[in-house]
Symmetry: C2
Subunit: 414 residues, 2 copies
């Protein structure tokens, strides 16, 4: 029977990051339409100014702003209409003092013009003449060439996650294809003599394989390609052979479900057997999540996760996610945005241990309240009911009711 010498959360995070430092991450080119949620593999710079020419932001008349000086409803300025800008066509006209050119929203500003008078602020006595009823300042109702993005500016940074707004930016700059890091391929092995597959008949004394589904879904959310390798039972030899195949096939391997000491012993032994440096973490000072294992078998990281679903999911969010992001090439080093909330009851914690408590988040009169979900640590229901998590760091022995805590939302992607 083994007793853990637990590693702190901080140290475990450091060990994982250091172990994955030198990994090469491969990239591929995808069409912009498939780039959502992927990680940029290169810096992308604007090939042209954006907009590529000065554009009107309103329907109206392009003029030289100086000519409108003093114009008002009472004393309008007279202009000659010398033409019209067609949408989507290069304007070949040139504007001189006293000239005006009709222009639609988005139309290209003619040479010589520096502002647009809105159609609401003019009168047109006939097709040739225009009365301007209001002054416009230089640049008014115009987006200048390059005002949005200047040629050569970085529009997406290497390691950045690509959201809808970046897709828009890339489209604007004419990038139909973009180089992104390949999806991280993760294999999940379930272990445990008590486990039975979700589609198999179940006998008394057995339970369903929960973790390979819950963990698989978490990894899908993180953007990985996930393969469930099935449930391995009974023998160390079988387990070693499946794990050996996994580290040959995938870039990250999770072993889930073995809650007994025997299953954990298998995991440690097999990781050590399959390559160096082998097991690097064996037990962490985290609740829930203590019986966590991490090792490297010839450059492939392997996690042995706790059997309790809530513990496995917590470790997945706190440790596996760090490895996933590193291996996906994600380099946005931003602290996630948590929601400040008033804790609804005292929560005790042991100093020297990092605690993660699942909470319900409610809002009353504009103030957030975080209510810890009560129940034993093995319960699945606790995860299903939660809105988010609070973290009690190792240097605290608990948090009192009424203190302000920061809630990290389950569904927030940071």
């Amino acid at each position: 029977m083994e007793f853990f010498q637990c590693m702190s959360l901080k140290e475990a995070q450091h060990v994982i990051v250091e172990s994955l430092k030198k990994r090469t991450i491969f990239s591929e080119t995808v069409h912009l339409i498939n780039a959502l949620g992927r990680i940029a593999a290169v810096d992308v710079v604007a090939k042209n100014d954006l907009p590529p020419f000065s554009r009107s932001t309103v329907d109206g008349f392009a003029v030289q702003s100086a000519d409108t000086f003093g114009a008002s409803e009472a004393a309008s300025s007279l202009f000659s209409i010398i033409g019209e800008v067609s949408m989507g066509e290069e304007s070949k006209m040139e504007i001189f003092p006293g000239n005006a050119v009709a222009i639609p929203t988005g139309g290209m500003l003619p040479v010589g013009a520096d502002a647009v008078v809105m159609v609401e602020h003019v009168e047109q006595p006939d097709s040739k003449n225009l009365l301007v009823l209001r002054m416009v300042a230089p640049g008014e109702n115009v987006i200048e060439k390059g005002e949005d993005v200047q040629v050569g500016a970085t529009i997406i940074k290497q390691g950045q996650s690509i959201g809808p707004q970046h897709i828009g930016m890339l489209a604007a700059c004419g990038y139909a294809n973009i180089s992104v890091y390949k999806k991280l391929e993760v294999g999940i092995i379930s272990t445990g003599d008590e486990l039975v597959g979700i589609e198999e008949p179940i006998k008394f004394g057995q339970i369903r394989d929960v973790n390979s589904y819950a963990l698989g879904a978490l990894l899908l959310e993180m953007g990985c390609a996930v393969t469930q390798m099935g449930i391995v039972k009974d023998s160390y030899e079988k387990f070693l052979s499946v794990l050996s195949k996994a580290v040959d096939t995938y870039q990250l391997v999770l072993i889930s479900g073995g809650s007994s000491v025997g299953a954990r012993d298998y995991t440690v032994k097999a990781i050590d057997a399959l390559g160096t440096p082998g097991v690097l973490i064996h037990g962490i000072a985290v609740k829930p999540g203590k019986p966590t294992i991490f090792g490297m078998t010839n450059d492939v990281p392997v996690f042995g996760l706790p059997g309790h679903p809530a513990a496995a999911m917590t470790v997945c969010k706190q440790l596996v996610k760090i490895a996933v992001r590193k291996l996906m090439g994600f380099e946005q080093n931003v602290e996630p945005f948590g929601i400040p909330a008033c804790l609804a009851r005292n929560v005790a914690s042991a100093p020297g241990r990092d605690d993660f408590i699942t909470v319900k988040l409610t809002k009353e009169n504009g103030t957030y309240k975080a209510t810890p979900i009560l129940g034993k640590s093995g319960l699945i229901r606790i995860m299903a009911q939660a809105d988010g998590t609070i973290h009690i760091p190792a240097d605290k022995s608990g948090i009192y009711s009424g203190e302000i805590v920061e809630v990290l939302l389950d569904k927030q992607e940071d």
Copy 2:
């Protein structure tokens, strides 16, 4: 030239919800592994108690807790070891006073036992005898049958979005397949004589079709199946024919990109031509987003969105999303969780108008600061730099620097 009679945001939201009230939403059955992010089409109830039998949460010995009364390091209680529980097998043993049975974490509690003594709190002089060094209370180190989920309890509600924790819950209850609402099929039409496709050569005076990509990505994030129907130029007849095909093919249609009054006139005319009740919203008192159109052509909702990318994305998040959720069967009526932050500078707004301001969010000494991103409203860069949005409701004429605002994160899914 048309002047808008603008509808308030609230009213527009109400019109959209009312218009979509009677829509039938179809469901399909998917494997649990594909259910992430989908919306449950039925209430799902537990078919069995969870766990299906009382289980040990530790490695140790199952006993009758009353027998440990008074046990301590100084005065241990003696038990006879009558056997061992095997992982994943039904325990056929029965425990009587003075009996103990070795049990692994997750093992099934033998009949008669009501608690488990951790292996750390016993001594084993030989294979038959056990000394218990600590008292256990009834139920200690045990998860009782049905303690997590009782048979018949609702584990997922109809209309609920399925997250990793729900996937775990469904796996635990043996649901390999689940009934979810079909993905909403959305068609996006780009209009505007100035637009050119992302892969086409661009001429002076033209700009790239940004919105069909940015809006498409937003809708993908919301869980829709998106089809870009290309750019329609030049003629009303062409536009009418493409829109007619779109409302016959898709369940929701977005028209994007036409920033000129002419393009908007086309949109209104075509929606009215293709069915009743036709256009219901024409202009909203929202900044950015004023030139928004919404109508129904024989039960298919059609949005005409503003040409400016930032405006189109804002309207997509504030109005289109409401329609999407309604049509996807999403029924979680939760207010999204925003992050309280201190506004970094004064922001003016016109009373009677709802303003949405994009902000950068930073954290200093545990306090959040929201800094509005400056720039003209047509700029794409403003969206790309933002972390989130603040909302100035119609009854306010602005917010002062230092006031606390609520920031809705761009990437947060509520």
